[in-house]
Symmetry: C2
Subunit: 372 residues, 2 copies
């Protein structure tokens, strides 16, 4: 059994890109097939295509929908490493950046003008992402030359615009109906904002945690001392946002929690300092989905974030993260709002993956199709 | 520019396998080309095919020599991760295991009988390695099913026989002319054996270091306390073996140092306990080249190892390592001695790697060849 795949870098992730029809031909459950392709379970993934880290054990599954309004529909799979399991619960912003480029390289979309627009839909979240791939004079550059922070080599420039991202999980941008709410935890009353856009996020001001906005480098150690209180805030927010029925039932992954403050003076490069908590720990950067939530929060009067960035919507928001500054953009047209980020993407290799074992009915199936 | 490559697992390593003529077409120095293909310099190798660990940042370059006595000639390249550099100084035993399988899969060698013999030569060391690939009834099995320690999934069975491995670096199995020598270091006189086979190795008895042979699990911590003395022994051995003119000039990588003892009683699974030092630290397992040196040392009367294993040459030697027992075999025929190990290998993916940038004259070259 052999399966075609493109191995692509999307932003700061490596992603294995499949087409639905190629996977369907294996007549094997993806929850069984993908871990085997990746070499899981094995902490080194030494017998498969996985890279043995969360950012290199990712798959994207693409198809061209009958729906004429969407060029490409895609599903993201986080493939387990030490477990032969697949998590279908979220999208990956970085891997999303390969979809438009794939469509152009495969001829699904003909590049037109200096920027080619590809409409994509993520099936994990229902999110429409408008992709804009730089195609000067109507073609991909012969030598890709766009740079982005966190990647040593150039790629093709891709803009990802999340269309009307509010409320994709709970139905509302402000699930509680208020721009700010009060949560009591650790004996303190916390002023927070709870927003649902890209991902559900609860936002807390750094000052309330006793963190010095002018000493961003010291936040991580200060946060580490208050993880228990922060987790209480996060779990109460889960209930208030309708994501869990009790604090005990709150999921580990959502909502995310973001700590924000005015940038240290002078910081001409950022509009707000951010530290995200992910799975109970300070995140080394900022997930793209989280950056979408913060951008909408900044645009929404009365949130703890808009009190930092100002109520007037800005077209660019620069978020300082432990890994550097991430910039998002906002665009409104007649019908919709786009919140986006710029990434780069590149095809690393065009591949045919060998799958040797009898996987379910896999061997039988491949023999059957060989005789057709 | 695009380059064909097979991505193969050899033993416990992942290896990128190229053909010389495909690389030659790029007209780019391999010291420049390979790091770029692998995504180096970058500790994550996120824009290339490298796996960001030493066992997954390896390349093999194969060719069919005019020389009728050798089926395949190959060169091993350890590709730097944080440095854009290639180390050509040694062979990799694990990656060696892909060569015979590659030759069969590409039709360079026609399988014959239940075991197909492929004669290979490693150009880094001049070592001939006779490979025996299991081909029951004259063909590779449809479903590979051979298992080996340290790999979660099955592969094709490959035996690697190192032909007459003695003296490949210094010209002699015993570079000093003696089976044992005395080295003074840390105020103590150490009885050591210095052998050159597969790789140059200096062998020390565990008891002389105060390590308890019956408590193998405690060796690592005991060794950590004596690293400075062990490094003095190793550097003096470098000079005695003719590998360096002064102790200060001794290389970090060779000779290797092996600590040996009789197996803990009762240990029906091993003949000798071994801990190797690699780059100044206890090695988590044992390099295949090191196991070849120890096997020849065990066969050589008067060495510190033969005093443990007995002077009568044995056809199987079982070496206990921190990662489990590694078994080597020895065979003598009319003309030569083969020392070998069993591995498994498998092709993970057949690929075409995309190399986008203008690398030296690469772009010019690909345009030139496109018009031919």
């Amino acid at each position: 059994m052999k399966i075609e795949a493109e191995w692509m870098r999307g932003g700061t992730s490596k992603c294995w890109v499949f087409e639905t029809e190629h996977l369907d031909q294996t007549r094997t459950s993806l929850d069984e097939l993908l871990p085997r392709l990746f070499g899981s379970p094995d902490y080194r993934q030494i017998d498969g295509v996985g890279g043995a880290t969360s950012t290199t054990s990712k798959a994207m599954i693409l198809r061209r929908p009958a729906d004429a309004e969407v060029d490409v529909e895609f599903t993201f799979a986080q493939v387990g490493i030490e477990e032969a399991a697949v998590d279908w619960g979220s999208n990956c912003g970085n891997c999303s950046a390969v979809v438009g480029l794939y469509a152009i390289e495969k001829g699904w979309v003909v590049p037109r003008g200096d920027v080619t627009r590809i409409v994509t839909r993520n099936t994990n979240t229902g999110q429409i992402i408008i992709q804009r791939v730089a195609t000067p004079a109507g073609a991909l550059p012969i030598v890709p030359d766009a740079q982005m922070p966190g990647v040593a080599f150039p790629g093709y420039r891709v803009g990802l615009g999340f269309q009307d991202p509010a409320g994709k999980t709970t139905g509302k941008l402000l699930p509680t109906g208020s721009a700010t709410d009060t949560i009591t935890a650790g004996g303190t009353r916390w002023t927070v904002s709870m927003v649902d856009a890209g991902a559900p996020v609860v936002i807390v001001r750094a000052e309330q945690l006793g963190l010095d906005p002018s000493r961003y480098g010291s936040w991580a150690s200060g946060v580490e001392l208050q993880l228990e209180t922060l987790e209480q805030i996060r779990r109460q927010a889960a209930v208030r946002m309708g994501l869990a029925s009790t604090v005990a039932a709150a999921a580990r992954a959502i909502p995310k929690l973001a700590i924000v403050a005015s940038p240290a003076q002078p910081d001409p490069d950022s509009d707000v300092s951010v530290m995200m908590l992910s799975m109970g720990k300070p995140h080394p950067a900022l997930a793209i989905t989280g950056s979408i939530a913060l951008t909408l929060a900044a645009r929404t009067p009365g949130t703890v974030l808009s009190s930092i960035t100002g109520d007037a919507p800005r077209s660019r928001l620069r978020l300082r993260t432990p890994a550097g500054v991430l910039e998002t953009w906002s665009e409104e047209d007649d019908a919709s709002l786009l919140i986006g980020v710029e990434r780069t993407a590149r095809t690393i290799a065009t591949t045919i993956i060998h799958v040797p074992e009898a996987l379910g009915s896999a061997v039988e199936t491949s023999l059957a199709s060989a005789t057709q």
